[in-house]
């Protein structure tokens, strides 16, 4: 633990020096360039409060050098892609959404390789050999239900949800609108041996698709639906809010037999030949910041599991099973899957 503290301090002093440099250049360039030119743009998805906190932290160290643009994961995906098609992605750093889009970007050579400091603190399973993006954290997807509504027999697995005889009302994020939703759906697809029948069964029940992932627990909590598939971290945040505001929270999680689906949230730096060295540096620092202990502590408070060895994911039951899907395969299957999926949910 000592080690880590030190390195943190090192990082901080490093940053301080840079801030000073920054101030100097600011003065030099005042007449010619606007300060906005020095700020990097970050497309980011996730809980607003968490992101604000991260931004605050980063900028107390580094000054106002980054503009965070918060959006939903689906939006982030399409915005990045539209800009790519139009000529140049406008973001310097992209964080959030699912690995699919990062794979695609990386395949087209649009991501910069970044030097990660203290990479030894990252758990091995999160280290990517042949990709120019990094995992910041991961989410555990479980079954979430409303204990007031769901009084009958509870499903024990994802499979049960579709194949048992109970007639729950089920809610899930739309794979066509939400990228996490897509991640979840394609994981379920893989778990069921690429058999689309699973979704056929689901759709036969009282089944509903939401725009975004965050809506799933909300809708269940509000009593509109009985059960759904959603990241566990949202449940944690809802619980916190309920506690603060003083109302009851009827949500519970079921850790499915197949194991909780793990969705990893990558971060990457967009390649841009015209980017100034200074901005390049800030971008790299930002990526490093997200992986730093300080930032990881924040995100884990919001329910995201850290990629660092030195942070405990204490909100998740210790003994649960997890399953990781094969993103390379998922990227290949995506088109076929989406077609079948769209045929069902029409």
């Amino acid at each position: 633990a000592n080690n880590q503290l030190e390195s943190n301090q090192n990082a901080q002093t490093d940053q301080n020096v840079e801030v000073n440099q920054n101030v100097e250049t600011d003065q030099e360039d005042e007449e010619t360039t606007e300060p906005t030119d020095k700020r990097i743009t970050v497309y980011i998805s996730g809980p607003e409060n968490m992101i604000n906190k991260l931004e605050e932290e980063f900028e107390t160290d580094r000054g106002d050098v980054a503009d965070f643009l918060i959006m939903s994961c689906g939006q982030l995906r399409s915005k990045v892609w539209t800009e790519k098609e139009a000529g140049q992605i406008q973001a310097d750093v992209v964080f959030g959404s699912d690995p699919l889009i990062y794979n695609m970007l990386d395949d087209e050579g649009l991501l910069d390789s970044i030097d990660i400091k203290n990479s030894e603190m990252i758990a091995d399973e999160f280290k990517l050999e042949n990709h120019n993006y990094f995992f910041v954290n991961e989410r555990y997807v479980t079954l979430i239900y409303n204990k007031k509504n769901l009084t009958g027999e509870l499903p024990e697995s994802y499979k049960d949800l579709a194949y048992n005889d109970e007639n729950y009302s089920i809610v899930m994020a739309d794979a066509r609108q939400s990228s996490t939703g897509l991640g979840i759906a394609i994981s379920l697809y893989q778990l069921n041996d690429n058999d689309i029948e699973y979704f056929n069964k689901l759709s036969a029940k009282d089944f509903m698709l939401t725009k975004s992932n965050g809506q799933v627990p909300s809708l269940i909590m509000e009593g509109q639906y009985d059960i759904g598939v959603a990241p566990y971290d949202s449940l944690i945040r809802l619980r916190k809010k309920a506690k603060n505001d003083g109302y009851e929270m009827p949500l519970e999680a079921i850790w499915p037999e197949e194991g909780a689906i793990i969705i990893r949230r990558p971060i990457g730096v967009i390649k841009n030949a015209e980017r100034t060295d200074e901005k390049q540096k800030t971008s790299e620092e930002l990526v490093n910041f997200f992986i730093s202990k300080k930032a990881q502590l924040i995100t884990s408070k919001f329910g995201f599991a850290s990629v660092r060895k030195d942070i405990e994911n204490d909100f998740i039951p210790k003994d649960i099973k997890t399953c990781i899907i094969d993103w390379e395969k998922a990227t290949k299957d995506e088109k076929q899957f989406k077609e079948q999926y769209s045929e069902i949910f029409k």
């Binding site: 743009t41 809980p47 607003e48 409060n49 503009d67 965070f68 643009l69 918060i70 959006m71 939903s72 689906g74 939006q75 995906r77 399409s78 915005k79 892609w81 539209t82 800009e83 098609e85 139009a86 000529g87 140049q88 406008q90 889009i101 695609m104 009302s169 739309d174 066509r176 609108q177 990228s179 759709s203 509903m208 698709l209 939401t210 725009k211 975004s212 965050g214 809506q215 909300s218 909590m221 509000e222 009593g223 509109q224 639906y225 949202s234 945040r237 809802l238 809010k241 309920a242 505001d245 003083g246 109302y247 989406k338 769209s342 069902i344 949910f345 029409k346």
Partner: protein, 571 residues
């Protein structure tokens, strides 16, 4: 005395400034054409380009993909159902209300104006939220039913095409109301009186004369409703997408999520072509415009129907206005939507959060107001020029300008935003990431809306008004601003107000084009629900937006009335 007058009158020949007039005309035309070209045509060209060019080669795979895909036809079918449904609902509702307001001696006709206006102030997206809050399983309707019949099995789904039709109709009927109202006001009482004289009863006269006389208005406003419906995304995404039903706009959205921009462009072009075709067909319908010869209006006496009308209106406004408003209001005070309505779950925190704690929200309000005022005003000025040239010169190029300016109306806002992204992302016109890209796209969206509102009035003006000014040596700029504008002012004003309202709630454009510092209320509306907050915060924001819209409108009307001449023209 005569001599005195003669000496005092001015010799005509002493000014060379009027020499400029001719070049002025071409200059202003050039300016207008350029603006339209840059703001509307340029992004459109990109959309077309995306649909046919990939990696520098021309290809039609996008078209083939779209037209081979059964999903396209399914979406098309649903779109048709949606449009027909909305037309079938909103047009009669708007017409009947406009009739009661403008053609009868109904006592509370001013109240109808206010209610309809407030109805229009509610963003369609918010209306769909209110709908969900009412109808869904955790919604108020279910709760009330449960109180009455505790054992009830409630299985009404808030999500369906019908729901979208109802919500969109409630949202769009005010457009019909406003347009038909001004059409009805132009009917000279003599036309109806003649029918009475010839033995026509009131009912026969209403059905045979009064209403048919506003067919041209109905057709053009029906077209507006049509385009706004096929271009709508907010409501369908909220009420139709969740059950997987697709319409063309959601197809477009899917294509965006699937990162298939070619298909997006092809589908957008399809939408545009459909609108154009419908527009052409609607122009064929042979009805003569009413000439405004006389501004006396005939008012039908309601007599014994008064009670019936009162009941009907009460029911209607309860459903269309009060229930949604009350729903939103109650929800906005809940700690979390879905909780029982009890003291312990009520809070003011939502308001506190939005009004005082969130910096972004404050900025969003400021931005939306600025974008709204700036874009609406610019659109009004451009429209003024377009209309002036169309009316007074009516050359081929004037007509062309007019038609082109109407195009953005049939495109979903999100497509406008994509077009703008492509058009403005690369140097030398690098507006992407600045507030100007939002403003420019708003202007493109607003021009046709203002056009629709003012062109009717414009066609009623006698051409000799401008001719006489010419013979008196009045230069073009003055003719446009001092003589022409005041006469279509009420149309421009209502267009302006509607555009302003739209910018207080517009989601897709700003959502795709905003950046830190240029957030709008629409962005907030969308983001708030997507994040850790539920419907209660959306409702709170919606309530604030509605209050804002109403106050803003009252203010604008007050200011304008102070120095408006319109009242005098119309009396």
């Amino acid at each position: 005395m005569k001599n005195n007058l003669k000496n005092n009158t001015v010799k005509f020949l002493n000014k060379n400034s009027r020499k400029l007039s001719y070049s002025n005309s071409s200059l202003i035309f050039l300016f207008t054409a350029l603006v339209v070209l840059i703001i509307i045509v340029f992004p459109l060209v990109y959309i077309i380009k995306i649909s046919v060019i990939k990696d520098g080669r021309i290809f039609f795979d996008g078209y083939i993909e779209v037209f081979k895909d059964v999903k396209t036809y399914r979406a098309l079918k649903n779109t048709v159902i949606l449009v027909l449904g909305v037309l079938a609902m909103s047009v009669p509702i708007g017409t009947i209300l406009a009739f009661i307001r403008n053609k009868t001696d109904y006592k509370y006709n001013k109240a109808i104006d206010y209610f309809v206006f407030i109805n229009f102030c509610i963003p369609s997206y918010v209306l769909s939220v209110a709908w969900i809050e009412c109808i869904s399983r955790g919604g108020f309707l279910h709760r009330i039913l449960k109180m009455i019949l505790p054992t009830i099995k409630y299985d009404i789904s808030p999500y369906s095409l019908t729901a979208a039709i109802i919500v969109l109709s409630i949202h769009l009927y005010p457009l019909v109301y406003f347009a038909v109202g001004s059409g009805l006001k132009q009917i000279s009482d003599i036309l109806e009186k003649t029918s009475f004289l010839l033995g026509g009863s009131k009912r026969k006269t209403i059905l045979g004369i009064t209403i048919p006389l506003v067919y041209p208005t109905l057709i053009s406003i029906g077209f507006l409703v049509f385009t706004r419906t096929i271009a709508n995304f907010g409501v369908v995404s909220n009420l139709v997408l969740p059950i997987g039903t697709e319409v063309l706009t959601t197809r477009i959205f899917q294509a965006i999520s699937e990162l298939n921009l070619t298909v997006v462009a092809v589908l957008s072009i399809l939408l545009m072509v459909i609108s154009l075709a419908v527009f052409k067909i609607s122009k064929r319908v042979k009805y003569k415009e009413i000439e405004n010869t006389n501004n006396t209006i005939y008012y039908y006496a309601l007599g014994k129907y008064r009670i019936g009308v009162n009941i009907m209106l009460s029911i209607f406004f309860s459903i269309a206005l009060f229930i949604p408003l009350v729903t939103l209001l109650i929800s906005s005070f809940l700690k979390r939507w879905g909780l029982p309505i009890e003291m312990e779950y009520l809070t003011l925190n939502n308001y506190k959060y939005i009004l005082f704690e969130s910096e972004v929200t404050k900025r969003a309000f400021a931005n939306s107001i600025f974008f709204g005022i700036f874009s609406a005003t610019s659109a009004v000025i451009i429209t003024l020029f377009i209309l002036y040239f169309k009316k007074h010169n009516n050359r081929l190029k004037d007509k062309l300008l007019f038609s082109i300016s109407n195009l953005p109306l049939s495109m979903p806002n999100i497509v406008l935003a994509i077009g703008a992204t492509f058009a403005w992302i690369n140097p030398p016109f690098k507006l992407y990431g600045t507030k100007w890209i939002i403003i420019i796209t708003y202007i493109a969206l607003f021009i046709p809306i203002v056009l629709k509102h003012a062109s009717g009035l414009s066609s009623n003006i006698s051409l000799s008004i401008d001719d006489s000014a010419k013979t008196l040596g009045v230069p073009l700029i003055k003719r446009i601003f001092v003589l022409y504008m005041p006469q279509i002012f009420s149309g421009l004003l209502s267009g302006w107000i509607i555009c302003f309202l739209i910018s207080l709630r517009e989601i897709p454009i700003s959502l795709l084009l905003y950046r830190k510092g240029t957030e709008t209320i629409g962005v907030m509306l969308f983001m708030i629900q997507s994040n850790s907050y539920g419907l209660e915060t959306t409702s709170t924001l919606a309530v604030i937006v509605i209050i804002f819209s109403v106050i803003g409108n009252v203010l604008v009307k007050k200011i304008v009335k102070g120095n408006s001449v319109n009242e005098r023209i119309s009396d």
